[in-house]
Symmetry: C2
Subunit: 144 residues, 2 copies
DNA sequence: CTTGACTCTGTACCACGGTACAGGGTGTAG
DNA sequence: CTACACCCTGTACCGTGGTACAGAGTCAAG
């Protein structure tokens, strides 16, 4: 890496630190096609990145925060690169929204069931009369 | 299995069907200590179960429905078998309730963010002005 | 010239909750 | 007696999102 035309060569370690992810994670994303194969330094074989890879890593991180899986994130990245319309993106967002809401509903049913059981439990005494155990042993009806 | 003293021997396949799980799942639970090692038919080596194993499998299924992991479920089963009090059970339920509520909160933040983005998206036109893409590319503030 | 930090490839491993074989033996009905 | 369903053990594999090596090469500073 003696080519000083590039004042700062973006090695994998540098973009990892910039994007706040691990080096192994970047290589993993590359294998999983979330990142394109980067240019290589011809002499060392080291990966050479541009600033855009940092943005791409941040894109991935934000998609994760929005509940998208890596597979879905890859599709979003592909959409961005291709000839998608804004409507396609909105569809993806709405599908994910539905997904999230279903998961919230599932959790809410569980929350209600647990709340009911906790409140029914005296919290003292043996297990013979414990409503939580009774529910686990014999079912607890429909909690939704 | 020629011992006809037992009119119906509960083989692994039978309790699997009764409990609505797969045969492999039962052997997996046994390895994971959720089920005790059953008696064996001396001549064939086949596992021999009693009705109580079906209840135990249903216990596991209900604990799953309440959001307990297999590890936690194993602990619940151990509590049931040991000298636990009702209060211990209630604690487990309340801890799980907190866990579930945290997960709901996380999902709600995501829901809000996705909703905001979906509503902001015109749904037509190219990607240049898509707020969803903009959010993924540049962050979307705190969505909670 | 050596040392230490960095990078490379390849592979194995983690949790989670199972599922799917392969290659045997067993049990029962016709 | 044969066919077929069932059971056994052991091991590998699935998806999800990485993490952790080993063993080698490279780069920059002192």
């Amino acid at each position: 890496m003696r080519d000083s035309a590039q004042t700062t060569t973006l090695t994998i370690g540098k973009i990892a630190r910039s994007a706040g992810v691990g080096v192994e994670t970047i290589r993993f994303y590359e294998r999983e096609k979330l990142l394109p194969e980067p240019a290589r330094d011809p002499s060392s074989g080291y990966r050479r990145y541009t600033e855009s890879t940092i943005s791409r890593l941040q894109f991935i991180a934000r998609a994760k925060e929005l509940g998208f899986t890596l597979r879905e994130t890859r599709e979003l990245l592909d959409l961005r690169a291709g000839s998608a319309t804004c409507g396609t993106l909105r569809s993806r967002a709405e599908e994910k929204l539905d997904d999230i809401r279903r998961r919230i509903q599932d959790l809410r049913r569980i929350e209600q069931a647990l709340l009911t059981l906790s409140e029914a439990c005296p919290g003292a005494g043996g297990l013979e009369a414990c409503p939580i155990l009774a529910a686990l042993e014999g079912g607890f009806g429909d909690a939704g």
